[in-house]
Assembly symmetry: C2
Homo-oligomer: 750 residues x 2
């Protein structure tokens, strides 16, 4: 409601007395040594209150920080070398943004140019410029997975296909740019309001960067205008704003420009996938030998999770008996990639789902039948050690096929219409934890004598609506309504710990924590009411804001009265409870299983059917409809879930057809929402959502994710439909009109 009226306060709405404005000086060079920085002229500019350089922020950061193997190597401000165009070099706090900008211009930096490299293949060649001393051959990360008898399975195969797919770098393009307000006070305590997906992660990063204790840093998330993964890690601007505030002795607001969001935060990984896949003639999938190389950009970050998740996703859609997968990240002098909706899955599944269509064509099978034949089933363990409980993939394919009305066809239709499909599985929550000792998620609930309930959770609502969903879970558990619940979320000093919004974990993990707390509250209330009614608590139910004898709503008390009774019967003890969620509870923390990662609690599944119309004259593709079927476990908030499907489809549409970061020697050539072509509302196809509710045993009331997995199959469903429509197959998205025309021409020549 407050968003609709404009009353919602975002970070940029915060104004503190005496607040300064921060600006960052960034490297114009892709690779250079810093010989000297002279900030003298900037400091003399009236209105400038502080200038800082690398000397003042000398601790490197990386959300994934593995000593030696993958050390933190990005400094909030460059130390003696810059490694990409946009690398942070110095920063200024001044009385307004104009003065701060002018001060940046007065900072003199003497650079010594160094040879740079922008392509992963070039970067791996002997003699290529070395970007980090610790990374020989510029290999940032490489891991190999092998399960089962790959060679033997290829021998058994009737059909083996080998294809290569190239995926572009794309941007989150959240409407709200990154922004924070930092306030150091005289007692040495830091408060940071920031547009983030994880207050606790940012707090941890800030504490490390500033050599403080986490408890002395308070991170608060106001309303957030979109994250999509791009606001999960702490970014350099956050410790920069903090240090500027500390030095100036005043609060500092630092808002990135749109250009800075493109060049200085994170992008989705670009990469190349090579897949060799073996099938039996009847369509049975036997084995996959995959290889991927991601462009790591100039520094370590959270990025290796893309490699790890891509490995997981090979096992998440179809049954196979063996797998080999080598995945690498290679340093270049490009801006940094990181988490983005789907993280590792859109690339993997584009390759897998494109190749599935090619195989269907080669085998002369219906693409849907091929997928049904191989679809993952419930209650199994995959060759790569994923424990699958609920799985509605088969139902998704069947129901979406039925609802979409048109089956995918091969080889082009005369009117330019065509239909295509793709599937995906996705992790619903992950195991990786904030710190070994901490819970994944916790919640605190207070029930009050007026029947209202307060819920405190660390989870970050970034626009996906998690605050609403969590309140719904508590309301359902306590038999009250959404209006009865006030939620405070994502303030490290107030709310219990949570790791943040990523890996589609909030509903399942924080939802379970909130449910745990609500259940404890309910138990106390039922006990108190049972005592008064002189019956057994098991004979009571909580519904319609009352607690009453099961089946006899008249015999009971209101929820508010129950709270009062409970407090009175327990000597005035308030009705407060904590709750938590930790996979340790369910005993699946066994990392000795050989799994390449900690096992997530559940997985969602989906199948999308796309209908497109391609214009052979112009190369333009119009997506007419998408019919997504999503195994969401249970749709707690169906309207919110539909919104997630719509957003996923918009993003997948851009990934398929228009969006692409354009590079020239490490420089992003289209860092604006005008030049970077996101689809708009006018580009949206008709959407016919289907929710398959499999009631997962691990989810709160059976719920699983639907915010990320649904993005993944959109692009391959569209490109498969284009193939169906006009017979072209391009393994390098986006399928811009130029590429479509070039492919048509080539095809006609052939």
């Amino acid at each position: 409601m407050v968003k609709a009226t404009g009353e919602a306060r975002f970070t940029t709405d915060i104004a503190l007395p005496g607040m300064l404005y921060g600006k960052i000086l960034r490297s114009p060079h892709a690779h250079a040594g810093i010989l000297h920085i002279d900030a003298g002229k900037a400091l003399k500019l009236p209105g400038v209150r502080a200038v800082i350089t690398g000397k003042e922020l000398g601790v490197p950061f990386s959300l994934v920080d593995i000593p030696r193997k993958h050390p933190a190597n990005k400094f909030p401000l460059a130390q003696d070398r810059v490694r990409f165009i946009g690398d942070e070099v110095a920063a200024v706090a001044a009385i307004d943004e104009d003065v701060a900008e002018e001060a940046l211009e007065r900072i003199q930096v003497d650079y010594q140019g160094l040879p740079a490299v922008f392509d992963v293949d070039e970067a791996m060649k002997p003699g290529a410029p070395r970007i980090h001393d610790h990374a020989e051959g510029n290999i940032c990360w490489r891991e190999l997975h092998g399960f089962g008898d790959v060679a033997g399975d290829f021998e058994k195969a009737d059909v083996i296909r080998e294809d290569e797919f190239t995926l572009p770098s794309v941007a989150h393009a959240a409407l709200e740019p990154h922004c924070c307000v930092a306030q150091f006070d005289a007692s040495g305590k830091l408060t940071l309001w920031t547009s983030t997906q994880s207050v606790h992660r940012v707090r941890l990063g800030l504490a490390k960067s500033l050599n403080m204790r986490e408890g002395d840093v308070r991170v608060i998330k106001p309303f957030v205008g979109g994250g999509f993964g791009g606001k999960y890690e702490m970014m350099a601007f956050e410790p920069i704003a903090a240090r500027l505030s500390q030095k100036a002795g005043l609060p500092v607001k630092l808002t990135l420009t749109r250009e800075e969001v493109f060049i200085g935060t994170r992008l989705r990984h670009r990469g190349v996938f090579r897949l060799k896949t073996g099938f039996k003639k009847d369509g049975t999938l036997l084995t996959i030998d995959g290889r991927s190389i991601f462009d790591a950009g100039a520094y370590n970050s959270l990025g290796i999770v893309a490699n790890k998740l891509s490995a997981m996703h090979f096992g998440l859609t179809y049954r196979f008996s063996s797998l080999k997968y080598e995945t690498s990240r290679v340093f270049t002098n490009n801006p940094l990639p990181g988490a983005m909706r789907g993280f590792g899955a859109p690339q993997t599944d584009f390759a897998v789902e494109s190749q599935m269509d090619m195989i269907a064509e080669q085998l002369g099978m219906d693409p849907a039948e091929l997928r049904l034949k191989n679809a993952l089933q419930p209650n199994c363990t995959t060759p790569n050690k994923l424990i699958i409980n609920s799985c509605g993939l088969t139902e998704c394919i069947q129901q979406a096929r039925d609802k979409s009305g048109r089956h995918p066809k091969g080889q082009g239709a005369p009117d330019g219409h065509g239909a295509g499909m793709a599937c995906a599985g996705f992790t619903s929550g992950t195991m990786n934890r904030y710190r070994d000792s901490e819970p994944f998620s916790a919640a605190v609930i207070r029930a009050n004598g007026d029947g209202s309930v307060n819920l405190l959770v660390g989870a970050a609502d970034i626009g996906q609506g998690s605050d609403t969903t969590l309140c719904q879970i508590v309301a359902e558990a306590l038999g009250i309504t959404l209006d009865d619940i006030q939620i405070i979320s994502a303030d490290t000093e107030i709310t219990p710990i949570d790791q943040g919004t990523y890996a589609s974990r909030i509903t399942i993990m924080v939802g379970n924590a909130a449910l745990d707390a609500a259940t404890r509250i309910k138990d106390r209330l039922l006990t108190a009411v049972a005592e008064k009614l002189e019956i057994h608590a098991d004979d009571l139910e909580a519904r319609d804001r009352r607690i009453y004898v099961k089946g006899t709503p008249d015999i009971g008390v209101s929820f508010a009265e129950a709270v009062t009774l409970c407090q009175r019967s327990q000597g005035g003890r308030p009705v407060i409870s904590d709750g938590y969620y930790d996979l340790g509870k369910r005993g699946c923390m066994d990392t000795k299983s050989g799994a390449p990662f900690d096992p997530p609690p559940a997985f969602s599944f989906c199948a999308h059917f796309a209908q497109v119309q391609a214009d052979k004259e112009t190369g333009l593709v119009k997506v007419r409809s998408i019919t997504p079927a999503h195994d969401i476990g249970l749709a707690i908030n169906p309207m919110g879930a539909e919104g997630q499907l719509e957003g996923s489809i918009l993003m997948g549409l851009g990934y398929a057809l228009t969006e692409e970061i354009l590079w020239d020697q490490g420089k992003i050539m289209n860092p604006s929402l005008l030049d970077y072509e996101c689809p708009t509302a006018l580009d949206m196809p008709e959407i016919n959502p289907i929710f398959v509710e499999t009631i997962d045993p691990e989810g709160p009331f059976g719920a699983k994710e639907c915010g990320e997995g649904a993005m993944t199959p959109v692009a391959p469903a569209i490109t498969n439909a284009i193939h169906a429509a006009i017979g072209i197959r391009i393994n390098e998205i986006p399928l811009t009109p130029e590429k479509v025309l070039a492919a048509l021409e080539k095809k006609e020549v052939l």
Copy 2:
């Protein structure tokens, strides 16, 4: 620290986007009917966003609201009648204060004058103007207490004295005026930042005034610049600001001017005490027959607590065998009195302690000896049913006498020097509760893996330093330091319930709640560490940020490690606990005892020795030194406690010598800090504080109050010293030079 640097944010520092400024139109008449209000011209003024009148706030409020006997009868905005000069009539929200002021001038109110009455004796006469229909004879409240055989005791008495004492109206004069910012959002939720002593009381009042549920109102207390009782009740300006915000659809800040604080908030009760007291020749106190009448002003409010507490205070200092006490409140057309430091005690004890000196003189006894002879002793029940556990009154008298160096002397000293003394007991916390079902106080503590601890309490630090004291209690319980603890206090949506800062209740009540939570946390940590060390938890202690084997600090773990261990050993459950305090726990909730009020958990005691120098030529009195001895139970924060003694002495000094609200036909003639003469730092005497630590069984670590009780004996100690210095006895404070000179003249004439 942040207060010293100016970084602390008070309510007035809050700026919200689009915020308006509110102003209140007040009655210029002491008693009048409202015939018509025309706000048309005000609404036409550019920049005016809302005007409201009584129609829009039609629910009366009073913190004490007893149907029929003492109903809420004050409306936030007058309905059809105004009853004192300053009564709220209409209010405006505009883009700035100047526009709002101008708009007030444009509101046309047609009044019809009514006869008014300003004196309690006049008000009780037949035919006096009736101020409220429900109050015959303008009697607002009257209660009679009787314990023991009063008539028989007077018969046994050797000496009976009967004296009358007149006490002035004085003001709190907190440096920060009352201020709030109200924000109604489109979802119908209200957030109010306000300078208050009780967020939960204000929330309750707002919910009633605005016909909302408490859970839909959030009240937040920023830093507060002093309260002294004057910011405990909800005041009219708070629902006015809220309604203005609701009507304008924007946030509204409403800051009272200094004049408004004087006329429109609360004052200390003026009143008359008549005491008839019977003694044996040897100084044994037998019986008291007391009568008091307080000026209730124009409306019901919290004021009757002054009557109730004055009744309690008769039993709190000396032993007697019977008591009769009649106490009344009488409506007049004067501004409202309410809570102020000591609430009922300064008036009562001025009368009692003045008369004690007169009796000592009459009996030819040393005033200290007379008091020692009758001083209340520990572990007793008073005739008026107060259960006394610890009581260090005797030690206070002895130690203060020894330290002050000079004994009180009667009858004047040639150099104008004189010494005097007075005693008092005071309630440490009260029983009255927010709502029957709610706890008095609750706390939530989270212990984190970095060794930091978060404490959430509803208690309001209004400058008295309760945040610090509560953190000290938690630090002591957990064996950590103040630096380890971050406290969030007084935000109804975040912190558990607390009734607020009044009756010197925070240290003992919220302190016990915090201690309860900390003890639960400690138990969990000790259990986890004991498990690891394979010993019994009873053999461990928590100290110096470690948990270790008693007497062997080397064998143990750090506090941070203990939290980690605990979380890990309990499946990731966070180390969070609630705690609470409720007298129900200790079984002293028996209101059938015949006590005129619920029994407080503990009582503080004190004795002050004052040395003054009086100038017979000018009538000026200079207080040279005060030696206060205070039975504080345990001084948790000695520096803070000394600050409380100093503040109490400054306030008592003003009460004795300079402060007085001057009235003319219901109009306050000195509503400014220039004309209302508070003592300044230059007037402060030398202070030699003594803490008597009796370790009360009910207090956290034995602590009791020291913020209010210490104020009470200051004025009688000074006036007793003046009597000793120059031989005059004036039973009507303040002893201004004019009164001193008049008394001297009268005495010389006699």
